[in-house]
């Protein structure tokens, strides 16, 4: 496909996504809308991680930590940490904290990107994983900032829109707290999608991919590895920070347990299933990491499995086995993720045209 055709296809797909997102809650229960809100939240984090791992080729196993930084930023700005002896008095309305959650996480990401320049491949993966491992203990250690192991409660705070019980009035609509969370998450996710597309479509995105494909040729073409690798780290962490802020609003609390080590691994699973280096598949990646753990417990789609397997999943540890088996199968069926599936279709068209033009 020519870039023009790709662009048109992209606009159509994005338009369809916007419409689907807008009408979707009408077809599902209030509770389901809440689960789908998390799909939007994960999508934001995946868009960021994909920019780093998919486009620039730097593996991060620590993006859960950047989400945690965003989540804590949001919670501290809302509830303050004076009650633990910290310096922040809080009182900021929830949605205004989200850009700041992105900024703080982005700044930490930039700072982390500098030492990460010296690392690549598995070494970078391990270094980022170390960040994810250290995060919960760090949050416990600095209890005057973070509330320690108990964390910070947000439910019932006036700063939390809807306070998690009463309806939210916005733009002449009255939304249940679950639907409010859904629309808030997805509005931001769609903006994040557009921002990611804008960043990746032009010179910056090409430079990211150049760094991934051949560092030698990228340098010789004038692409600064330091600049684009840290930039990718910064933007990607900022996306994760915003997602973390929303996550905190969704759970109405933050604590070390809200952002476990497995969150980082789930995010990497999400971008791989979605397809590294493409945007189109990430929605599927977000769906998989939101719902696969539930399906693996025999809920929802999982209940379509043969009765024997469903019973097995409900035994202790059973769901983890199903989860793992499904992931392995996905890697076999979609070696390049869902985006890879779309891309292969596009390339088949391009090749056929090339053959015809000869």
């Amino acid at each position: 496909m020519t870039p023009r055709e790709k662009r048109i296809a992209g606009f159509v797909a994005f338009g369809a996504l916007v419409v689907a997102v807008a009408v979707f809650p009408a077809f599902v229960s209030d509770f389901k809308a809440r689960e789908w809100a998390y799909v939007g939240i994960y999508l934001i984090a995946l868009l960021g991680l994909n920019m780093l791992t998919g486009y620039t080729g730097q593996i991060s196993l620590g993006h859960g930590a950047f989400m945690a930084i965003g989540g804590y930023t949001t919670a501290i700005l809302m509830a303050g940490n004076e009650q633990f002896g910290g310096p922040i008095s809080g009182g900021m309305k929830d949605i205004y904290t989200l850009p700041l959650a992105g900024l703080v996480a982005g700044a930490v990401g930039l700072a982390f990107g500098l030492p990460a320049l010296r690392l690549s491949g598995l070494y970078l993966a391990l270094a980022t994983f170390a960040v994810a491992v250290a995060m919960p203990s760090t949050a416990r250690r600095f209890a005057e900032w973070t509330g320690g192991g108990q964390g910070i409660q947000l439910s019932g705070l006036p700063e939390l829109t809807g306070g998690s019980v009463e309806d939210v009035d916005i733009l002449g609509l009255s939304l249940s707290p679950n639907r409010w969370l859904y629309y808030l998450s997805w509005s931001i996710a769609l903006v994040a999608y557009a921002v990611a597309w804008l960043v990746l479509r032009g010179r910056t995105g090409r430079a990211f991919r150049a760094v991934r494909d051949s560092e030698t040729a990228a340098i010789s073409s004038g692409v600064s590895l330091a600049r684009y690798k840290t930039l990718a780290f910064g933007i990607s962490a900022a996306f994760a920070g915003v997602a973390g802020g929303l996550f905190a609003l969704g759970t109405a609390s933050v604590s070390p347990d809200v952002f476990p080590i497995t969150l980082s691994i789930f995010l990497l699973v999400g971008v791989v299933v979605g397809g590294l280096g493409g945007l189109s598949g990430l929605v599927f990646g977000a769906i998989v990491i939101t719902f696969l753990p539930l399906w693996a417990q025999g809920q929802d789609l999982g209940s379509l499995l043969p009765q024997g397997i469903v019973e097995e999943t409900q035994k202790p540890g059973g769901s983890s086995i199903v989860f793992g088996v499904v992931l392995i199968l996905l890697m076999f069926v979609l070696p390049n993720g869902v985006s890879g599936l779309f891309r292969r279709a596009g390339q088949a068209i391009a090749k056929r045209r090339y053959a015809r033009s000869e």
């Binding site: 496909m1 020519t2 870039p3 032009g202 010179r203 090409r206 430079a207 991919r209 150049a210 991934r212 494909d213 051949s214 560092e215 030698t216 040729a217 990228a218 340098i219 010789s220 073409s221 004038g222 692409v223 600064s224 590895l225 280096g277 390339q347 391009a350 090749k351 090339y354 033009s357």
Partner: protein
């Protein structure tokens, strides 16, 4: 004054002396050949000029200004572009995107027209949207060339452009490189194993062997130089070197091989 001046450059990799006090000049507007047996240090010299390697001692100057103080990614802004012996394309990108990366330093406003003009020069306009990695080897080399040309370099470093081409294609390549030099007002530094090509298009030839420069001069002078004959054919061999561009010696056609230190990492 020479456009490019390499002065007394020494580079060691552990115990191996890859370049040993190498000096040579490249005059503006010339096509300058850099030849030598495998492992002589030709690609290493390219990597020093483009700052992928930092020499242990010596100087590299473009127009009298030192290149050793600038970062590797700034080299192209100074007007030096290159191709690679073992092709370094951006494998997931289209031909056009590869060329657009070559234009990275020209800024945000660079139009695709510019890239298409260069694709016309190398005859690849029709394949602009084709995935670069799926093209045949010889055509990938042309993509690399287009990527180097689009930055409007003053000095173009070509690392074995004839690798993998057949006899007829090599002849065309020679004519093409001269035309490029004239049309783009380039200075060309050419590493090549194909003696016919080097001797027929070079204004000046430098010869490296085991990291040292052993000779330089016009193609005729170099071919008659006993040290060059020795380097290519060995001491006890009385056989004459390739006497004219038409009769390249067998040593000249030896297959290209990587030099000991790979060029993967700066």
């Amino acid at each position: 004054m020479a456009l490019l001046s390499v002065r007394d450059v020494t580079l060691r990799f552990g115990g191996i002396v890859a370049l040993d006090g190498v000096s040579f000049d490249v005059e503006e507007g010339q096509i300058s050949g850099l030849i030598g047996p495998n492992g002589a240090g030709k690609t290493t010299a390219f990597n020093v000029i483009t700052r992928l390697y930092k020499p242990d001692s010596g100087a590299v100057e473009l127009d009298g200004a030192s290149l050793l103080k600038v970062s590797p990614h700034v080299i192209i802004r100074k007007g030096i572009a290159r191709t690679f012996q073992n092709i370094q394309l951006f494998r997931t990108m289209s031909v056009l995107e590869n060329v657009l990366i070559g234009a990275h330093t020209l800024g945000r406003k660079v139009s695709e027209d510019e890239a298409f003009r260069v694709l016309d020069v190398v005859g690849l306009r029709e394949r602009a949207y084709f995935p670069a990695a799926a093209l045949p080897y010889g055509i990938q080399k042309r993509v690399e060339l287009a990527r180097a040309l689009v930055s409007k370099p003053r000095l173009l470093l070509l690392d074995e452009p004839a690798g993998g081409l057949n006899h007829e294609e090599v002849g065309e390549l020679g004519t093409f490189i001269r035309k490029l030099r004239d049309d783009f007002e380039l200075t060309v530094l050419l590493v090549e194993h194909h003696m016919n090509l080097v001797m027929s298009i070079s204004d000046h030839v430098n010869v490296l062997s085991f990291g040292r420069k052993i000779a330089d001069g016009s193609p005729e002078q170099v071919q008659a130089d006993p040290a060059v004959i020795e380097a290519y054919l060995g001491t006890d061999d009385a056989a004459p070197p390739p006497a004219s561009p038409e009769q390249a010696g067998p040593a000249a056609q030896e297959p290209a091989a990587d030099e000991p230190p790979s060029e993967e990492r700066a």
